[in-house]
Symmetry: C2
Subunit: 200 residues, 2 copies
């Protein structure tokens, strides 16, 4: 253990900020967005409700810090997925992007719910910028003409839209039977690799 229960004594927790973020992340992934609440996270950490507020300012602040974690995880995922391949380009990006969204649906959701996040500033703004630059970096190398921006927009839009619609389970109807050939995550990732996508 890196930072065990310490003694779970001592008026000062020692690493309360991380402990509360951990609780928030656990609640998000296990019980959904509604379960991540200032008071609940405080209870999980064995602390009073005012303590999280002192560290994050408000619920928006806590959620923003949590979303920042999400962007960091996305970058890690992209790097890991793309490291296993020698070639590069938007189709790989789409696959990895969608894979992250499907494997961490609630986190992915939070990351784009800007109404509950603090308007830019702090960790979130930084983490998001890093992630977006990484995304663009994976798209740009394949440009052939001057309209690389258009291709980048299309690739990102396709990835984001596919991820979102998949997550909301709105694709089955368009795809037919749930057991069809295009129902697994892997298949959807493959979808982006296959024919036609090279037109980007």
């Amino acid at each position: 253990m890196d930072h065990p229960d310490q003694q779970e004594k001592s008026y000062h927790h020692g690493d309360l900020r991380r402990a509360i973020l951990d609780a928030a992340e656990r609640r998000l992934t296990e019980n959904g967005f509604d379960a991540v609440t200032i008071r609940a996270c405080a209870r999980d950490a064995g602390v009073s409700p005012a303590a999280p507020i002192h560290h994050f300012g408000s619920l928006k602040g806590l959620l923003s810090a949590l979303a920042a974690r999400g962007f960091e995880q996305l970058v890690a995922r992209l790097d890991a997925d793309l490291a296993t391949r020698t070639e590069s380009g938007p189709s790989l990006l789409v696959g990895a992007y969608v894979a992250f969204a499907v494997s961490s649906p609630r986190m992915f959701d939070l990351m784009w719910r800007e109404d509950v996040l603090d308007p830019d500033g702090g960790d979130l703004s930084c983490a998001r910028r890093v992630a977006l630059e990484r995304l663009q970096a994976h798209v740009k190398p394949t440009q052939a003409s001057g309209d690389e921006r258009i291709r980048a927009i299309r690739a990102w839009s396709l990835a984001h839209g596919l991820a979102t619609l998949l997550q909301h389970g709105r694709m089955q109807k368009a795809l037919g039977a749930p057991g069809s050939a295009l129902s697994t995550t892997q298949d959807f990732a493959t979808l982006a690799y296959d024919d036609g996508f090279s037109s980007f």
Copy 2:
């Protein structure tokens, strides 16, 4: 006026369900998602908090009915936009879809926030089905081979992703200066029409 203040008397309001939905929609578009609460809508309609609950069951029910309105508006918008053109196909669909999302950002947002909506059933489920069938209807005619599903998925994903990212204002960074040639709604709609999209 169709249903004016009536007399704003009479224990029974007469059309309270619609009045509350109107208040909710006004609050959503003018003051954002957080402003649409049971109590606030009840106040707007001059009624007690329990009255909306009687009509919608819960806040989720009210939001679901509101989202249903959104899907109806989307269908109306698609029909109106596409009626002005003789040809058909996914690129037109993308333009109209994105146009709706940009012109009604908060409504569009609500329509996809399924965590705050009632799981399928009732008006929402119906309105959503109608909208999705209409979307598919606009995509299918252009199919050439057997992979029409893939093309439909791509078109819809592109439209949805583009709409979402635009709405969150995450495109400017990818596009460069805000005043650039690709910064207006019309330009984005055009983006979908232009070259490359025919590959769908």
